[in-house]
């Protein structure tokens, strides 16, 4: 019997246990962090030194080049797998964008490519979602983690070949899954369309990469795990659990499956893509500017708050639906509680950037990352408000939600990943970006394009939602009034696509050896020096 009493008892016992663990942890100094720990991503002399090869040329001193040489030896074992992930991510982004753009056009040109089942809207849209979430964002995020974590832990990537194998399996799994969806083989649940038989490939591949990263973390040469590590390592624990429970065949059905579906789908955003994005931003923002984050202890609140509140927001996708009232209300409450961790992260990340606006102007990598971080704040605020029953009544079932999803997955996570690649690849390949002005072109194309996209679907979606609530409003009128906004969305999407093509071409050029070798003069000398960190 599920009664309110039992629920209350369970949550009471749960809270007591949590409190006990918290007291134990504080007593054992598990959770204590000091502002000095915030500097653990810097070597001596690096604080106060901005770091972005494309932006601050000539501001580097000799001392820093020594450390770069050490770091590049840390990069070495993982270089192959990170480059593989970079290439896969870029290809997946282009494919995903193509399908997204096609889906957008289909919404106002319904007879476009309607002769084949594979190109029908329901499949094209789904291939887009799976390509950009499991192909582009996940691959980019893991790739960046495979590069940042060894640097943060001062030790090379362990088991790089296993990670390489895992990356290949994951990528093949995503592509096979997308082909399956295109041919009509799907699990039929949003965010879980890839058939479980193919999902197994991703599970094994993901496990290999996680094993390599955890093994690296166990060999770390630093006393403190920097905040980025909390997010990345926790995400590595969370995603496999989510994926396995959601994918067990024959376990879920009916409306129970719907609650599982949205528990999973929102946690893919909250406990997987968000920690990858927030974690990367927590490393890149201070690193590029050369100053530690504003208040390191706040980052504790941000992290645990995200874990506690974000994990239970999923059922706000079923407000007004055929599920028990209490579980909807629970998710609404947690959605609103998300203000706390989001504000904590915002103070830390924006506070650091705002006091160093010169760096925002000079470094495009930082501009991408920081724009993404601001969008995380806005997307989360918007999400918290959208979960309120009164607002959800309007926005549910409309394009407004699509706009919100893209504010999170695109303007936040994708922008952070762009910035991370722009920062990382020159350090990894030791080459400068061949055409630095393309970074600005990319930035303004996607910012402009996304601006049009977002406002088009938000305004159109809001009007659609008001129409759907109005008794006697003919469905034909709603469809016709939304159409111009869908056309505007395609315009924005086209601009974003152009930006992505620039990004991919630039990466291809860099990897094919265009672009000046970075710091070529001092490199041989630096490389001969003994390593200054043990274990390398």
């Amino acid at each position: 019997m599920i009664t309110t009493g039992l629920l209350l008892t369970l949550s009471f016992i749960g809270s007591l246990a949590a409190l006990g663990i918290l007291i134990w942890a504080i007593a054992n100094r598990q959770f204590s962090v000091s502002q000095q720990d915030a500097e653990s991503i810097f070597e001596k002399g690096e604080v106060g030194q901005p770091d972005d090869s494309t932006a601050f040329d000539g501001e580097k001193n000799k001392e820093q080049q020594v450390f770069d040489a050490v770091r590049s030896r840390i990069d070495e074992p993982g270089r192959k797998v990170v480059i593989l992930m970079t290439v896969v991510a870029a290809v997946m982004l282009l494919l995903g964008t193509a399908f997204g753009l096609l889906a957008s056009f289909k919404l106002h040109m319904p007879d476009l490519l309607s002769d084949s089942a594979a190109m029908t809207f329901g499949r094209v849209r789904t291939m887009h979602l799976n390509l950009v979430s499991y192909g582009w964002l996940s691959v980019a995020g893991i790739g960046i983690a495979l590069w940042i974590l060894p640097r943060m832990f001062h030790t090379p990537l362990r088991r790089p070949n296993l990670a390489y194998f895992g990356a290949s399996l994951w990528s093949i799994g995503v592509l096979a899954g997308v082909v399956a969806i295109g041919s009509g083989w799907t699990e039929g649940l949003e965010w879980l369309e890839i058939p479980w038989e193919i999902g197994l490939l991703m599970a094994i591949g993901g496990a290999c990469m996680a094993f390599s990263l955890i093994s690296t973390a166990r060999h770390r040469e630093v006393h403190h795990i920097y905040v980025t590590g909390w997010y990345f390592l926790a995400a590595l624990c969370w995603f496999p659990i989510l994926f396995l429970i959601a994918k067990i065949p024959e376990l879920h059905s009916g409306v129970q499956q719907a609650t599982m579906n949205w528990w999973f789908a929102h946690n893919v955003l909250g406990l997987w893509l968000t920690p990858l994005g927030v974690g990367a931003a927590y490393y890149l923002i201070p690193k590029i500017i050369g100053v530690p984050v504003f208040s390191y202890s706040l980052s504790l609140l941000g992290f645990w708050g995200l874990a506690l509140f974000y994990s239970q927001v999923g059922i706000h996708h079923l407000i007004g639906g055929p599920v028990p009232t209490w579980v909807v209300t629970l998710s609404v409450v947690h959605s609103v509680m998300m203000f706390i961790p989001v504000i904590a992260v915002a103070i830390n990340q924006h506070g650091t950037v705002l006091r160093n606006l010169w760096a925002f102007k000079q470094s495009l990598a930082l501009r991408f990352v920081s724009t993404g971080a601001v969008m995380y704040t806005l997307a989360s605020f918007q999400g918290s408000l959208e979960a309120l029953r009164s607002i959800n009544s309007v926005t549910h079932f409309t394009h407004y939600t699509v706009g919100h999803a893209h504010l999170g997955a695109y303007a936040f996570t994708t922008m952070v990943m762009f910035g991370a690649f722009y920062y990382m690849l020159p350090l990894l390949t030791r080459r400068e970006w061949p055409w630095p002005r393309l970074l600005a072109a990319h930035y303004w194309l996607v910012v402009g394009g996304f601006g049009i996209y977002f406002f088009a679907v938000s305004i159109g979606g809001w009007l659609q939602g008001l129409g759907l609530l109005e008794v006697g409003h003919p469905f034909a009128d709603i469809t016709q009034s939304v159409r111009p906004y869908l056309e505007a969305r395609s315009v924005g999407g086209t601009l974003m696509t152009l930006g992505h093509v620039i990004f991919a071409v630039h990466i291809a050029a860099l990897l094919l050896g265009k672009g000046l070798l970075a710091r070529s003069k001092t490199e041989p000398e630096a490389a001969r020096r003994p390593a200054t960190v043990e274990g390398i």
Partner: protein
């Protein structure tokens, strides 16, 4: 935060409690219920049609969850039916509740538009019926023939949408899909315990003014 183990234990414990609250407990509550007697399992053909519905991704534009009158009167006014409850979906796997209404809600489309002829025409070319429609056409579920054989189901089409000199007949996939759409009918009344599993957060209490 200097050690891996407490970090991962904390992270996993939090997710476990979220899973308990969002998946396990609602699941126990929902799975306790048997559906109303009027709800029948899908026939083989209806299930085959449902597989088509799933595979073509209809759910990305059509919800199957009418809202209650306490939230909005518009859903019922469109003829989409009463607010659905948990047990209405007893035989549904995968669920197709949907989160989008680019098109109308379909949970009771079988009651609202029972005509197979209408659905076949509409699936072949929605704009043959509504010139404003943005629904995809599904010509690949049909076949254009020089002449129909006796067992063929011919699709009625206005001249402008007919392929030159040919007749359009429905493939098995189209017939199955239509059978599924016709089966979508949850207009029976639900009372008592069965009506309890739905979000009642918009309902007003007795005597309370909204």
């Amino acid at each position: 935060m200097n050690r891996l183990l407490p970090l991962s234990i904390g992270a996993v414990a939090i997710l476990a409690s979220a899973t308990l609250m969002l998946v396990i407990l609602p699941g126990m509550q929902i799975n306790k219920q048997k559906p109303a007697e009027q709800l029948k399992p899908y026939t083989a053909q209806e299930q085959a049609g449902r597989d088509q519905y799933v595979s073509l991704g209809c759910v990305y534009c059509h919800s199957q969850q009418p809202r209650s009158g306490s939230q909005t009167l518009a859903d019922a006014a469109h003829g989409w039916g009463r607010a659905s409850v948990g047990s209405d979906y007893y035989y549904d796997a995968p669920h197709q509740l949907g989160t989008m209404r680019t098109g109308p809600d379909l949970l009771n489309i079988g009651a609202r538009l029972p005509s197979a002829e209408w659905h076949l025409t509409h699936l072949y070319q929605p704009r043959a019926i509504f010139d404003w429609s943005i629904m995809p056409a599904y010509p690949f579920l049909f076949e254009a023939k020089a002449a129909a054989s006796p067992e063929d189901v011919v699709v009625k089409l206005p001249a402008a949408f007919r392929p030159d000199g040919k007749v359009v007949v429905a493939r098995q996939e189209a017939l199955d899909l239509v059978a599924y759409l016709q089966s979508l009918n949850r207009t029976y009344a639900v009372e008592g315990e069965l009506s309890s599993i739905r979000d009642q957060g918009f309902d007003t209490r007795k005597g309370e003014n909204k």
